[in-house]
């Protein structure tokens, strides 16, 4: 019996296994049931984005995920929930020299929807196209990257420690 993701077929009188493309992962049934974020909630995204980077990341999401049966364009962010900002940055963003920290309200003002995907406090900023104008708007909404105060605050011992 073929493993999941493979099926047996007959080609040119030979029996082969051919790859069966997987379905996009439907997110609607996986969205966390949570109240919308308060406007003042800080949102964190690591790194210094560009339009090209945001496009690549959104298109990666689109390859893998769907929402209501339609490919889902989006990029990942984390909300500062359940723990102080510095704890989140140290636990999840220590590899990033810079960080963007808009508020949920600012993203809403720029007309972006936050989908509660993955495990709390991860969210996906939903996009509707990877045209320049929408990505330009997202870049503006994220704001200027700032130094990450928790960069390199990992647990590997360093000579200078």
């Amino acid at each position: 019996v073929p493993r999941p993701g493979w099926r047996e077929t007959v080609l040119s009188e030979e029996t082969n296994l051919v790859r069966v493309p997987g379905e996009r992962i439907e997110q609607r049934t996986r969205l966390r049931a949570e109240q919308p974020l308060a406007a003042a909630t800080l949102i964190s995204r690591g790194g210094a984005d560009t339009v090209d980077k945001l496009r690549r990341h959104a298109e990666r999401t689109e390859r893998a995920w769907a929402l209501d049966g339609v490919p889902l364009l989006g990029v990942s962010v984390f909300a500062v929930l359940d723990m102080p900002l510095d704890d989140l940055l140290r636990r999840r963003f220590a590899s990033f020299r810079t960080i963007c920290l808009p508020t949920a309200g600012r993203l809403a003002e720029y007309q972006f929807e936050l989908l509660p995907t993955g495990q709390r406090p991860h969210f996906t900023v939903r996009l509707h196209s990877t045209d320049g104008p929408e990505l330009d708007r997202l870049l503006a909404a994220l704001g200027a990257p700032q130094a990450n105060s928790q960069y390199a605050r990992g647990k590997i011992w360093r000579e200078e420690d």
Partner: protein
């Protein structure tokens, strides 16, 4: 600037809680196997990660990665200490 084994957005997570990306974004997909230690990310932000598993999704195979603590540079220093005579 980093030369990564597999390109990823280190912000990305799914319901597993792991970072994910596509196998076809690896420089050598044959090296991406569960348990392998790789550098993931991009030239600006990278991290040492453990490959957790691979799963079909969309038009390809996604790779789940566990972020390991510390910077890529820390691991180089660690190995240099360990191998110093």
């Amino acid at each position: 600037m980093y030369r990564v084994d597999i390109t990823a957005d280190l912000n990305d997570e799914d319901e597993t809680g792991y970072v994910w990306t596509f196998l076809d974004e690896a420089r050598d997909p044959g090296q991406i196997k569960p348990g392998a230690i790789v550098v993931a990310g991009d030239q600006d932000a990278a991290a040492v990660c453990e490959v957790i598993d691979l799963a079909l999704a969309g038009d390809g195979t996604i790779v789940h990665l566990r972020l390991l603590p510390g910077l890529v540079e820390d691991y180089r220093a660690l190995v240099e200490r360990a191998l110093a005579s």
